[in-house]
């Protein structure tokens, strides 16, 4: 790992002002992606501003039909939350399937969505449930937040502080994990929301997480695994790597969408 300068932030404003004064600094939350990336020398931030100790970012609250999860909440915290389990059980099942137990003890929701790994689980949750991303300066709908692979609408130095999930009538998540990394080969969040059926796919798309309009239409007409599996996905839009061809992923999208419906 290259040299870096560490700073522990005490509050959100402390974190953003500290980062603003750095040459090429980054926020450090649970570090479960950033630290391995730094160890491989694929990232070399001049400074790390550790936000994992900011208590204000660690709350989960349910207010009416909105579940608000602080950016520094760990996956284990979400997975173990009885409040979230009652409001959006699909979110608990998604969080309990991220990485492994030690990763879930450190990794955070804010870190996951700010990184927007094309195979991460939380981007599918945000997009599929129609969440709103809260930052230190504004609120961004998930539809506008996830711009592309590892790209988000976050401005330089802008920090995710919370995610607001509207409670769906029904939602389910299913993923086919890569057997080695546990990242999604394909992960699908399907939800019946106040604004109709939403379906988000992670792990598969060339441009990262995306909404699948054909699946949304099919499931809007008939909420069933059969309806999902009858929808085909264009392989040209899918990623291909040593773990699976684009045709394989295109096929998996329908299968995982069906299982997501079964899980709802």
């Amino acid at each position: 790992m290259y040299d870096t300068t560490y700073y522990r932030a005490s509050s959100v404003s402390d974190a953003t002002s500290k980062l603003a004064g750095t040459e090429d600094g980054k926020f450090l939350a649970g570090g479960q992606t950033l630290i391995p990336t730094m160890k491989q020398r694929l990232a070399a931030p001049s400074d790390l501003v550790d936000v994992s100790g900011i208590d204000a970012l660690k709350n989960i609250s349910v207010d009416g039909d909105t579940v608000t999860i602080g950016a520094a909440c760990t996956h284990a915290q979400v997975a173990g939350s009885s409040e979230v389990a009652q409001a959006i059980p699909a979110l608990v099942s998604l969080a309990s399937g991220i990485g492994d137990p030690a990763v879930r003890a450190r990794g955070t929701i804010g870190g996951s969505i700010a990184n927007n790994d094309p195979a991460a689980d939380y981007p599918a949750a945000c997009l599929g449930l129609g969440a709103t991303i809260v930052t230190d300066s504004r609120e961004v709908p998930a539809d506008e937040f996830f711009v592309g692979m590892f790209e988000t609408a976050l401005e330089e130095g802008e920090m995710v502080t919370a995610v607001k999930f509207p409670k769906p009538a029904k939602a389910g998540y299913a993923k086919f994990p890569n057997p080695a990394s546990r990242y999604a080969m394909v992960g699908v969040m399907a939800a019946q929301t106040a604004n109709g059926v939403r379906v988000a796919v992670t792990g598969a798309g060339n441009d990262g997480v995306f909404r699948h309009s054909a699946l949304e239409e099919a499931l809007g007409a008939n909420w069933s695994a059969d309806a999902a599996q009858g929808v085909s996905t264009d392989a040209a839009d899918m990623m291909a790597d040593i773990h699976g061809s684009s045709e394989y992923r295109a096929h998996l999208v329908g299968v995982m969408a069906g299982r997501a419906v079964d899980n709802s």
Partner: protein, 159 residues
């Protein structure tokens, strides 16, 4: 350089370390507690698992500076005394839950963490659950069968 202060196996420890020092390197190099291992360097194998504030984490994927003020327990700190073994260590010994032993410290730390988490949540730690919970710990010798048996046995011994 950053000054880090934490409690490791019940003792207050403190040192000035470079900011990019990993917790596992601090434990092994500064504190000379070499029971915590480094297996893969890519955050996958779990040989470096220690408890930080009661949670099992990968010490190779956390900066020492991030553990400021924390209570850390390593494999050297699980038994009641130097001459004792923790019930989970006894179970690994009795069930032949290891061959080369390289992954064992991480396995034990993960095992005691899962037993206490399941107990706290009132959930049953059956064989399937043990296998799922071992997702982040890799063993290249045993094929896991005896590790799973050892953890089930250790869980009953910890009760």
């Amino acid at each position: 350089m950053t000054k880090v202060t934490m409690t490791v196996n019940g003792k207050a420890r403190s040192a000035e370390v470079p900011d990019n020092t990993l917790l596992v390197d601090y434990i092994r190099e500064n504190l000379r507690l070499t029971g915590t291992h480094v297996g893969c360097d890519t955050s996958q194998c779990g040989a470096c698992v220690v408890h930080v504030n009661g949670q099992a984490v990968k010490a190779c994927t956390m900066l020492a500076a991030s553990a400021e003020g924390a209570e850390v327990t390593t494999i050297e700190g699980v038994a009641a005394s130097k001459d004792d073994l923790h019930p989970m260590q006894v179970a690994f010994k009795e069930n032949h839950g290891l061959q080369c032993g390289f992954c064992t410290p991480g396995m034990i730390m993960t095992a005691t963490d899962m037993v206490s988490r399941y107990k706290e949540a009132g959930k049953t730690l059956d064989e399937h659950a043990i296998r799922e919970e071992l997702e982040g710990n890799i063993c290249r010798c045993t094929g896991y069968h005896n590790i799973v048996k050892a953890i089930a046995d250790g869980a009953s011994k910890m009760a």
